[in-house]
Amino acid sequence: MMHRGGWKRWLIALAVLHGIIGCAGFFAPYDPAEQDRERPYLPPMKIRMVDTAGHFHFRPFFYGVHLGDGTFDQFEESTDQVVPLQFLVSGARYRLLGLMPCQKHLFGAPASRIYLLGSDAYGRDQLSRILYGGQISLLSGLLGAGLTLFFGLLIGAAAGFFGGWKDGLLMRVAELFMALPWLYLLLALRAFLPLSVSPLRAFFLIIVVIGAVGWARPARLVRGVVLSAKERDYVRAARGFGAKNGYLLRRHILPETSSVILTQAAILVPQFVLAEMTLSFLGLGVPEPVPTWGSLLASLQQYSVLVSYWWMYLPALAIVPFFLGYLGLASALQQDASTGKIEKAASGVRQ
């Protein structure tokens, strides 16, 4: 059995992953919208240490590529053009963490262009797009989960605490929300939106929509916890001493929900990342040329891309460590909460 505090490791791992995405500008060699029309669908380049003549190079390098004659996507390496890989190079301007203007990139090749994970239909660097795309996907996951939990907590606690017809009404609304065919509603909503939604507005819209959709489930969970908590002896005792509703909720009842909320958060974040991907995949997300993981995968809808360019699958792989991280965190938190409860109960017995 995992000992208490296992969640800390998961949290650190997640922090590192988010740090990389947060500093996408530094890790990505190029601007994600920059097109290189001479190199559409370029396969990932090979980084080499030994050249074709068998000589060892101390600095990693790659060969320049050019389109084969008369072809659209068949590239040939020019073995006479050795391009050394350089670290901490100056390149496209970006803002580190959205604040600090910066020009340094982790790696690059000033003499040519490097595509570690290949390029897309417009010759845009796939690695840069995955990194930048993660910013929007993860942020909408985090904000969406935050929004959902906020509403869920508010409504769930109100329903559980006040009970009666208020409880009934809120829970019926929650059921209504769960029963709505959201995807179709979203498609309809898109048709009514003003034509030119800037990428930023579209992004916030997605978050609001995602957050508004999901509150029902956590609200029901919170309500259950609140319902049982408000009947506890110490709560009744506090009420007997004249405690007001606000005090009771703040001091005694809401703290009881913390384990549910934390576990829910860890489960909801990846779910909302996935939701964002679904929306973008269907063309309801952030418009071109801003990348998100969903819109990066959208090109896979075409059979020709599916069978011809394997590196277009890579954005799907980018999600995997994040999902493992979040789900690992969720189960560690749950375990922690249950062992915590047992210990608490045990110590209660001892007293």
Partner: protein, 600 residues
């Protein structure tokens, strides 16, 4: 005027259509095809001599809605009817783009261009063995022109505001009388199916004509003059046609066409699924291929070969909202319309667009950059004098400067274009969300314009709501669309170029031409319609192309190649750039070996 052919939605999608009609027939009672007798005047087709037999299987994007040429408005119905079941009086050869005799073996035009005298072939029979003569033709045109029937062909037969009249001279000769000369001449008759009077007169007199000849009609209630006739329809799966034993064409050795025993249309709605079916050998032909799928198929050719017929008649373009701001126009849009109305602004945008990149990245090089509406696939009507300026940001900037635009530096350090009121220039570009090619074009244009300091938004929109915005509410800024002519003749495009036309996209259905150059185009288009011969018509239409190039109401982008593929065993496979791309010579297609028959 014969413009209504354009009003169908199908034209708008990259899958466009031609209107056509046909009859379909039942098997003959006796079951064996009659010998060609000397009294029959058969048409001899040049071409490879084929082998009889075999079953050709092709994919169809959707189930046809009907097999009645009078009501066929959807592309699949028209494709089946035109491609295999129909015959017209005069036919446009899809390869040469010229007219040639069909059911009419010859025709004569009166010197004033108002009278067409057609001589019909003698001794022809419908696919059910019943004879065909001038009475069927009279019946057909009576039905087409009857307002109560609501035939899709009716508008096409109203020339100069009056319906065409038809009169029989004898059993083999008919005279068509027009109220006004018609520039495209005998092209008028292409795609007009001749209906069997013996089967349709009764439903017509009962007023039930529109309800007849649905897909559920039994095969023996059918008759037509096309190469194939109805055999079987399986809902949701396939439509099977069989050889018309009475077909009126023969090869140079005297064998009666068509060669094939059967043509099967499988209903495969998804383009990628069609590719998979073709790849696995389930279907024999494939057309309407996108460049990506074409290259996938070309890479792994097994038993089939792919062919690129060159640019078709589809032209894609960017256009701005050139309507006059009305009361309902939002102030924001009204402000932007001022830029759009500026000719130099449109010229600058045109200069900034990298058309070669569109051809390379969208069509993988299988297409042609365009500077006018006439594509290289149109053999006769292109104006060679139209300039093809290469992309030049310097020239674009100079034009914008002349028009009073300037640049400021945005907070992020990028130059931004501003108008004379120091408002930043930005606009949205609508595209159809179901057309990946055009969305790709818009994304490339977006990047081109960014280099001019113009931030543009690409807005993929559901096609119907896009069309509604462009032609009805007129609440849009710019749009990327494509049009496909069904014919190489510019008369087919009248509805697009006339300022009163419903497809005059940048400012449709005007009461009076809004600008002097639109008025001039109106005049030229009307003149070419009544001009007596090709040369003067060509000159007039050249001038139209020059005005368009100068004023850039449409910024022409590119035209895709017509891409198709066929099994190696299929003979006489010659894809054309006019629809139906691969089935236009279906009567001559044949299997070179027996393998076509051996399929389970």
């Amino acid at each position: 005027m014969s413009m209504a052919r354009l009003s169908t939605f199908g034209r708008w999608l990259s899958c466009s259509l031609l209107l056509a009609g046909a009859g379909i027939a039942s098997p003959p009672a006796d079951g064996f095809p009659p010998q060609a007798s000397s009294s029959e005047e058969l048409l001899t087709l040049p071409g490879e001599i084929g082998k009889p037999g075999g079953r050709l299987i092709v994919s169809l994007r959707a189930e046809p809605k009907t097999l009645n040429p009078l009501t066929a408005a959807d592309a699949p119905s028209q494709e089946v009817i035109l491609g295999a079941m129909q015959a017209d009086l005069v036919h446009i050869n899809r390869a040469t783009q010229l007219t040639e005799p069909a059911l009419a073996k010859s025709w004569r035009v009166s010197p004033d261009g108002l009278q067409y005298t057609l001589t019909l072939r003698k001794g022809l029979r419908f696919s059910d063995g019943q004879p065909f003569d001038a009475n069927d033709l009279l019946f057909t045109f009576r039905v087409y022109l009857d307002e109560n029937v609501h035939a899709t062909q009716r508008d096409q037969l109203i020339v100069g505001g009056k319906p065409i009249t038809v009169r029989k001279l004898d059993e083999q000769t008919v005279v068509f009388q027009l109220a006004k000369t018609y520039g495209a001449g005998e092209r008028l008759f292409d795609g007009l199916a001749i209906l069997p009077r013996h089967l349709l007169e009764k439903p017509y007199s009962e007023g039930k004509l529109a309800q007849t000849w649905t897909l559920a009609t039994p095969a023996n209630q059918w008759a037509g003059l096309g190469p194939f006739r109805l055999k079987e329809y399986v809902p949701g799966q396939k439509l099977v046609l069989e050889r018309n034993p009475y077909y009126w064409k023969k090869d140079t050795k005297g064998n009666r066409l068509p060669y094939l025993d059967e043509v099967v249309f499988l209903f495969v709605s998804n383009a990628d699924a069609q590719v998979l079916r073709f790849q696995s050998g389930e279907t024999d032909l494939i057309s309407r291929l996108g460049a990506e799928n074409f290259s996938v198929l070309s890479r792994q050719q097994k038993g089939y070969s792919m062919s690129d017929a060159g640019p078709g008649l589809e032209y894609n373009f960017l256009f701005f909202n050139l309507n006059e701001p009305g009361e309902k126009t939002s102030p924001d849009l009204a402000r932007k319309m001022k830029w759009f109305h500026e000719t130099k602004f449109r010229q600058a945008i045109s200069q900034a667009i990298d058309r070669e990149a569109i051809v390379r990245l969208v069509y993988q090089g299988r297409g042609a950059a365009l500077w006018g509406p006439v594509t290289p696939g149109n053999h006769r009507w292109g104006d060679a004098s139209i300039p093809h300026p290469p992309r030049s940001l310097e020239k674009a900037r100079a034009l914008l400067k002349e028009a009073g635009f300037t640049w400021t530096t945005a907070p992020d350090g990028r130059p931004t274009l501003v108008d004379s009121d120091s408002k930043p220039v930005e606009f949205s570009i609508l595209t159809s969300s179901t057309n990946a090619d055009r969305t790709k074009m818009a994304t490339l244009i977006q990047d081109d314009l960014k280099q001019l300091g113009i931030p543009a938004q690409v807005v993929p929109t559901e096609f119907r709501s896009l069309l509604d915005r462009v032609t009805q509410t007129r609440e849009y800024e710019a749009c990327v669309l494509g049009l496909v002519s069904f014919d190489a003749d510019p008369t087919a495009e009248t509805n697009v170029w006339l300022s009163s036309g419903g497809r005059h996209l940048w400012n449709p259905s005007q009461a009076h031409p809004a600008t002097a150059w639109e008025a001039e185009i109106d005049k030229l288009m009307e003149q070419q319609l009544v001009a007596p011969s090709f040369e003067p018509r060509k000159k007039l239409f050249d001038r139209v192309q020059e005005i368009l190039a100068e004023n850039q109401p449409m910024i022409f982008l590119a035209s895709p190649d017509i891409l198709a593929g066929a099994k190696n065993s299929i003979g006489n496979f010659h894809p054309a750039v006019l629809e139906p791309y691969v089935l236009w010579n279906v009567e001559q297609l044949y299997f070179k070996d027996a393998s076509g028959n051996a399929r389970p």
